[in-house]
C-alpha cells in the first residue's frame, strides 16, 4: 500500500510540474485552458486517494493527518479555480487585457504555483518546505504583475520586496531550528525532518527555538498577511487577475499558516521554550481589529475582500493561539471554510467586475436587479464570510467566541466587537452593491457560476452537517496540535 501511496504522492507533484512545462510551450490558448483544468482535476483525484493510501514518510515527503486535509482542500480549490479561470481569462483575452503570450505564461505559472504549494504541504523537510513556499511566492509575484499597469507593477513590487524579506526571515529561522536540532539529533537530513523534529524537540535548546520561532512567525506570518506584515496583501489581491486573488486568499495564505502550525507544534512540544500561544493570539487579534476597521474606507471591491482575508487569517491565528481541542478544531474548520468561501466570493467578484467593467464599488449598484445570479451570489458569499447561519463559518465563530469568552472574556469581547465592526462594513457595502436601483452596464454574465455555487453549497452543507469521518479527522489533528 505504501508504494501505491507514494505513487499517488508522485502524481500529486508530477502532474502539475509536467503540465506546467507543457502549458509553457503549447501555443493554442483554448486548449491550454482545458489542459489546465484537466491537470488540476487529475491532481485533485490523486490527492483524494491519499486519504486512504499513506506512503511511509521519507526524508523529504510525508503524508500525515495534518497535511492531507490541506492537500485535498488546495487541490480542490485549485481545480475549481482553474474551471473559473478558463472562462475568466477568455474574457480577458477578448477585451485585450492579456495577450496570448502572457496567457501561456499565466497558465504555466498557475500550474507551477500548484506544484509549489503541493510540495510545501507534502514536504517532510523544513528546507524543502521553505524552498517551495519561496517558489510559490515568486510565481504569484509574477502573476500579480501580469497586467503591467503601473498599479499592478507597484503591487507586485511591494509584494516581492516584503515577501522576500519575509522569506529571508523564514530561512534564518529554519537555520536556527536546524542548529537547535543538530546538537541533539546530529548532523544531516534528520535534523531537518518534521517527524524527527517533533519527536525530539523536548531536548532542543529552548533559547534557540524561541529565536527561531520568532523569525519563522514573522517570516511566514508575512505570507499569512498578519498585521503589521500585511501590506502586500490587499494590493496584490486588488491588482492581480481574479483567479490569482482567489488562489492567494484560498490557498497560499493557508499554506503559510500551515508552516507556522508545523513549527508551533515543534515549539509547544518543548517545555523550556516560551509558549507560542500568546504571541499568535496578539498578532491575530491585532490583525482582526485592524482589518475590520480598514474595511470601511475601501472602494475597490477586490481590495476590500483582501482585507477581509487578513481579518479571517487573524481569526484563525487567534484560534490556534488560544489552543485547546475546541479552538484548534474551530481553527482548522475555519481555515477550510474560509478558503472555500473566499475563493467563491472572488469568483463572484471577478464576474461582477468583468460585467460592470470596474472594480470601484461606487459604480456597482443594484446587482440583484440587474444580475440576479451574481447579486444573490454576492449576498450569499458575504453572509457566509460574515458568519451568518446556515453557513459553516457561523459554527467556527460560535466555537471560537464562546470558548474564548469562558477562558478570557476581554479577548473574546474585543474579538467579537471587531467581528461586528467588520460585518458592519461588509453589510454597508453589500447594501450598495446588491440592492437599490441598478447602475452601470447590464450585459449578461458569460462566465459560469458553477464553481462559485459549488463552494457555497459546500460551505452551507458544512454549516448544517459535517461528515463524521471529517470530524474525527479534525479532532485528531486538533489534539495533535495541542
Amino acid at each position: 500500500m505504501s508504494d501505491g501511496g507514494s505513487f499517488f504522492v508522485g502524481a500529486v507533484l508530477i502532474i502539475p510540474a509536467v503540465s506546467a512545462g507543457l502549458l509553457a510551450v503549447l501555443p493554442d490558448n483554448r486548449a491550454t485552458a482545458r489542459l489546465n483544468t484537466l491537470a488540476a482535476f487529475l491532481t485533485f483525484i490523486a490527492a483524494t486517494v491519499l486519504f486512504r493510501e499513506r506512503p511511509t514518510p521519507g526524508h523529504f515527503l510525508i503524508v500525515d493527518d495534518l497535511n492531507v486535509v490541506f492537500i485535498v482542500l488546495s487541490t480542490f480549490v485549485g481545480f475549481t479555480t482553474s474551471v473559473f479561470s478558463g472562462s475568466y481569462i477568455a474574457h480577458e483575452l477578448e477585451i485585450g487585457r492579456l495577450t496570448p503570450i502572457y496567457l501561456r505564461f499565466y497558465h504555466a505559472m498557475y500550474q507551477t504555483l500548484m506544484f509549489a504549494m503541493n510540495v510545501a504541504l507534502l514536504s517532510n523537510n523544513v528546507g524543502l518546505m521553505w524552498v517551495a513556499i519561496e517558489l510559490a511566492t515568486l510565481t504569484t509575484v509574477l502573476m500579480v504583475g501580469i497586467y503591467r499597469t503601473p498599479a499592478a507593477l507597484e503591487a507586485a513590487w511591494k509584494y516581492f520586496l516584503l515577501g522576500s524579506v519575509g522569506i529571508a526571515f523564514a530561512l534564518f529561522g529554519t537555520i536556527l531550528v536546524y542548529l537547535a536540532a543538530h546538537a541533539v539529533v546530529g548532523e544531516g537530513l534528520d535534523a531537518m525532518t518534521w517527524s524527527v523534529l517533533v519527536k525530539r524537540s523536548p531536548e532542543f535548546e529552548p533559547a534557540l527555538l524561541n529565536l527561531a520561532f520568532l523569525f519563522l512567525l514573522l517570516g511566514y506570518g508575512t505570507k499569512v498577511g498578519l498585521v503589521p506584515l500585511h501590506a502586500w496583501l490587499p494590493d496584490a489581491h486588488a491588482e492581480g487577475p481574479t483567479p490569482i486573488s482567489a488562489v492567494l486568499s484560498g490557498l497560499l495564505l493557508n499554506v503559510a499558516l500551515f508552516a507556522v502550525l508545523r513549527f508551533k507544534s515543534v515549539m509547544s512540544a518543548n517545555p523550556g521554550a516560551f509558549a507560542p500561544g500568546p504571541l499568535m493570539v496578539s498578532l491575530g487579534l491585532l490583525s482582526v481589529v485592524f482589518a475590520s476597521f480598514m474595511l470601511y474606507r475601501r472602494h475597490d471591491i477586490k481590495r476590500m475582500f483582501g482585507y477581509s482575508s487578513i481579518e479571517h487569517m487573524g481569526i484563525i491565528t487567534f484560534a490556534f493561539g488560544m489552543g485547546g481541542p475546541l479552538a484548534n478544531f474551530a481553527g482548522l474548520l475555519h481555515m477550510t471554510l474560509h478558503s472555500l468561501t473566499k475563493s467563491g466570493i472572488f469568483f463572484c467578484v471577478g464576474n461582477i467586475s468583468q460585467v460592470k467593467g470596474t472594480q470601484n464599488m461606487r459604480d456597482i449598484r443594484g446587482l440583484t436587479v440587474s444580475h440576479p445570479v451574481l447579486g444573490w451570489g454576492l449576498v450569499l458569499g458575504v453572509a457566509a464570510i460574515a458568519g451568518l447561519p446556515p453557513m459553516g463559518i457561523f459554527m467556527t465563530e460560535f466555537l471560537i467566541v464562546t470558548t474564548t469568552f469562558a477562558r478570557s472574556p476581554v479577548l473574546a469581547v474585543v474579538l467579537g466587537l471587531s467581528l461586528l465592526v467588520a460585518f458592519g462594513a461588509l453589510l454597508l457595502r453589500l447594501n450598495g452593491l446588491a440592492f437599490g436601483d441598478p447602475h452601470g452596464s447590464r450585459k449578461p454574465v458569460r462566465a459560469s457560476s458553477v464553481p462559485m455555487f459549488a463552494h457555497f453549497a459546500l460551505v452551507i452543507a458544512a454549516g448544517i452537517w459535517l461528515p463524521a469521518a471529517l470530524v474525527a479527522w479534525f479532532e485528531h489533528v486538533a489534539t495533535l496540535l495541542r
Binding site: 466555537l399 467566541v401 447594501n431 440592492f435 437599490g436
Partner: protein, 639 residues
C-alpha cells in the same frame, strides 16, 4: 403556492403544539439529530414552555399564511418574498424547539437573516436599505451578546446542551453577567428600550404580513429567549434582576407609546406599540423574577401568567392590526395617516376588524388586552410583600408608568383609527379605496374573534398556562375553568375577580334594552344633512383634525421633555393671504446619546487607520523591521 404549503405546515405544527400544551406532558420529550455541532448534535425538546410559544408562533404563522394567499397577489416582487417566508417561519419554530445553545443561536441568527431578506424585499423604497442595515447589525449585536452568555454558561469545555447547563447551574456572579448579557441579546431582538431603534424602521419596511410576523411573533420568540435563559437555565435569579427587568419594561412601555403618539405613519405607529407591549410583558417578567427571588411562588406564578397571557394577546391583536394596515396599504398605497381618512365608508369590514384590534390593544374590556393588563396590575398589587426597599419604591412607579401608557395607548388608537378610517377622505387615494380581498378579511375576522373570546373566556387560557408557570415558577394559579360564570380569580374571591363574560353579557343586555326601549317608545326617524359644526359653512376635508393636530396637546405635555419637541409657527402679517406655517422639530435623545457616538467612533478610527493604506513601501518595510526589533528586544529582555 408557497403560502398554502406554509399554511398547512404551520397549521399542523399549531395543532401539535396546542395538543401537547393541553395534554400537559409533552409529545416530543427529547430528540437529537446528527446535525449541527458534530459531537453534540442538534437537540430538540418540546416542554410546556416551548409548546406555549409554539402555539403563539404557529398561530401567527397560520394566519399570516392565510393572509398572504390574498395579500401576496398585490406583491410587486414576489420573488423576493416567497423564498424567505417559509424559511423565516421554520427558523422561528426551531428557536423555540432548540435544546442546546448552538441550535438555539443557529436558528436565532437564521431567523434574523431570513427576516432581513424580507425587510429588504422592497429595497428600492427610500430608507428600507438603511432600515435593513440597522436591523441586521443590531440583530448580530444581540446574537453576539447571547454568544457571550452561552459561552459563560457552557464553560471552556463546551457543555452546550441545555441539559448540561441545567445540571450545573452557574455561580452567582457568572449568573448575573450571563443574565445581563441575555437581556441585552434577547432584549435587542424584542425591541426593549434602549435597544429598540431598529424596530420601528425594520418592521414597517417588510411586506405587511411579514411585519405582522416580525412584530407579533418574532418579538415573542425573543421573549421566549429571555424566559428560557433567565427562568430555566440560570436557576434562582437575584432580586435586583427583577427590578432591572421591570424597570426596563416600564420605560419601554412608556417610551414606546409616546413615540407611537408622535408618529403618523400607520405601520410605524404599530411598530412602536410593539415596543410598548413588549415593555408590558417585561414588567410582568420582572415582577415574576422579583417574586421568585423572594420565594413568593404564587405571586411569581401570577406575574408570569400575566406576562405570558399578554404575549399571546399581543401576538393576536398586533397581527390583526398589521393585517388591517396592510389592507389599507394595498387599497390606497398610503401608509401616512395624514393622507387617509373616511376609509370606513369604502372598507367597512376592514374598519370593523381594525376597530376590534384597536379596542383590544388599548386594554378596553371586554377584549383580551384588558385581561392581561389587569393581571399585571394584580401582580403589582401583590408586590408590597417584597422585602427590598428599592423594589418598594420602584414597583409603584412602574405601576404608574403602566397605567400612563395604557391610557396613552387608548389615546393613540383613537388617533390611529379615527384619522385613518373616520372623518372624510383627505386624498383621492383614500376617496377611491376599495375593500380588500376575502382571504385577508377572513384572517382579520378570525383574529378579531380570538380577541373577543380570549377576553370573555380568559379562564381557559389561564388554565392552559398553568403547566408552564408550574415548570418555571414552581406554582400555578388556581384552576379557573370550573369557576361559576367563568370568573377569573387570581388570588382570592374577596381580593379581586373579573368576569369578562358577565360584563359582555350585561353590556349587550343594557345596550339592547336601551335600543329596544328607544325603538318602542321614541321616534326612530332620521334625517341626513350637512354637519352642523357650530354653524360653520361646510369646509373642505383639510380642515379636519389631523394626526399631528390630534396629538399636539399630548406632545406639548410630554414631548417637550422627552423629545425636545420645538414648535415654530410663522404667521403671515394680517391681510396677507398666504398660509401660516407650523413646523415641529423633534430629536431622539436616545439616538443622539447612544448610537451617534458609536458610529462616530467607528468612522473616526476607520479614517485614522485608513492612512496606513497609503504608505510607501519603505514605510511598510519599516513596519516589518520595527516588529522584528521589538520582538527581539522582548525576547532579549525575557531571558
Amino acid at each position: 403556492m408557497v403560502y398554502a404549503a406554509a399554511l398547512c405546515l404551520s397549521g399542523a405544527a399549531l395543532g401539535i403544539a396546542a395538543a401537547s400544551l393541553f395534554i400537559g406532558h409533552s409529545l416530543l420529550s427529547a430528540l437529537t439529530l446528527p446535525v449541527g455541532l458534530p459531537w453534540l448534535g442538534a437537540h430538540f425538546r418540546l416542554d410546556s414552555l416551548a409548546a406555549f410559544f409554539l402555539v403563539v408562533v404557529n398561530l401567527g404563522a397560520t394566519t399570516a399564511s392565510i393572509y398572504g394567499i390574498g395579500y401576496g397577489r398585490h406583491e410587486e416582487t414576489p420573488g423576493r418574498v416567497l423564498p424567505f417566508f417559509p424559511a423565516f417561519l421554520a427558523a422561528m419554530n426551531l428557536v423555540v424547539l432548540a435544546d442546546d445553545a448552538f441550535t438555539f443561536l443557529f436558528a436565532w441568527e437564521f431567523m434574523s437573516l431570513a427576516s432581513w431578506a424580507l425587510v429588504m424585499a422592497h429595497h428600492r423604497r427610500a430608507g428600507n436599505a438603511a432600515a435593513g442595515y440597522l436591523y441586521l447589525i443590531m440583530a448580530s449585536f444581540g446574537t453576539l451578546a447571547l454568544l457571550f452568555a452561552f459561552g459563560l454558561l457552557a464553560g471552556p469545555a463546551g457543555g452546550y446542551a441545555f441539559q448540561a447547563i441545567r445540571a450545573a447551574p452557574p455561580a452567582a456572579g457568572v449568573a448575573a453577567v450571563a443574565l445581563i448579557l441575555a437581556l441585552i441579546g434577547a432584549g435587542s431582538k424584542a425591541g426593549l428600550v434602549p435597544l429598540h431603534v431598529w424596530l420601528p424602521l425594520a418592521h414597517p419596511a417588510a411586506p405587511s404580513h411579514v411585519s405582522a410576523l416580525m412584530s407579533g411573533v418574532m418579538t415573542k420568540v425573543a421573549v421566549y429567549g429571555v424566559v428560557r435563559i433567565v427562568f430555566d437555565l440560570l436557576g434562582v435569579p437575584p432580586w435586583w434582576a427583577g427590578a432591572l427587568v421591570a424597570l426596563l419594561g416600564g420605560v419601554s412601555a412608556f417610551m414606546g407609546v409616546l413615540h407611537a403618539l408622535m408618529e403618523h405613519d400607520l405601520k410605524r405607529l404599530l411598530a412602536y406599540h410593539t415596543v410598548e407591549n413588549i415593555g408590558i410583558i417585561f414588567i410582568g417578567l420582572g415582577l415574576a423574577l422579583a417574586f421568585e427571588a423572594n420565594g413568593m411562588r404564587a405571586a411569581a406564578a401570577l406575574a408570569l401568567t400575566a406576562a405570558l397571557f399578554h404575549v399571546f394577546n399581543h401576538s393576536v391583536f398586533k397581527s390583526l392590526l398589521f393585517f388591517g394596515s396592510g389592507a389599507v396599504l394595498t387599497a390606497t398605497g398610503e401608509r401616512d395617516m395624514e393622507h387617509l381618512g373616511g376609509l370606513i365608508h369604502r372598507m367597512r369590514f376592514t374598519a370593523f376588524a381594525f376597530l376590534i384590534g384597536s379596542a383590544a390593544i388599548s386594554a378596553l374590556p371586554p377584549f383580551n388586552g384588558f385581561v392581561s393588563e389587569w393581571l399585571t396590575f394584580q401582580a403589582i398589587l401583590l408586590s408590597p410583600g417584597l422585602p427590598q426597599l428599592l423594589l418598594k419604591f420602584l414597583v409603584p412607579a412602574i405601576g404608574a408608568l403602566l397605567a400612563l401608557s395604557a391610557a396613552l395607548a387608548a389615546a393613540c388608537f383613537v388617533k390611529a383609527f379615527g384619522v385613518t378610517f373616520l372623518g372624510r377622505p383627505r386624498t383621492d387615494a383614500a376617496r377611491n379605496a376599495a375593500e380588500t380581498d376575502r382571504w385577508s378579511l377572513a384572517t382579520m375576522f378570525i383574529l378579531g374573534a380570538l380577541c373577543l373570546i380570549a377576553g370573555i373566556l380568559p379562564g381557559y387560557f389561564i388554565d392552559a398556562l398553568a403547566p408552564v408557570t408550574q415548570v418555571l415558577a414552581g406554582a400555578h394559579l388556581p384552576g379557573q375553568g370550573q369557576l361559576d360564570w367563568l370568573t377569573i380569580v387570581p388570588v382570592a374571591q374577596s381580593r379581586s375577580s373579573y368576569n369578562g363574560l358577565l360584563l359582555f353579557l350585561m353590556i349587550a343586555l343594557a345596550a339592547g334594552l336601551g335600543a329596544e326601549a328607544i325603538h318602542r317608545w321614541a321616534s326612530d326617524a332620521l334625517r341626513r344633512s350637512a354637519p352642523w359644526d357650530c354653524g360653520f359653512p361646510d369646509s373642505s376635508p383639510t380642515t379636519q383634525y389631523t394626526a399631528g393636530s390630534f396629538s399636539q396637546p399630548i406632545r406639548r405635555v410630554f414631548g417637550t421633555v422627552v423629545f425636545r419637541a420645538r414648535e415654530e409657527v410663522r404667521m403671515p402679517p394680517p391681510g396677507d393671504l398666504q398660509a401660516a406655517q407650523m413646523r415641529v422639530r423633534m430629536r431622539d435623545l436616545l439616538w443622539d446619546g447612544l448610537y451617534a457616538p458609536v458610529t462616530g467612533l467607528v468612522n473616526f478610527v476607520a479614517d485614522r487607520l485608513n492612512k496606513v493604506q497609503f504608505l510607501s513601501i519603505r514605510a511598510y518595510l519599516t513596519l516589518v523591521f520595527g516588529a522584528l526589533v521589538t520582538l527581539l528586544t522582548v525576547l532579549a529582555v525575557w531571558h
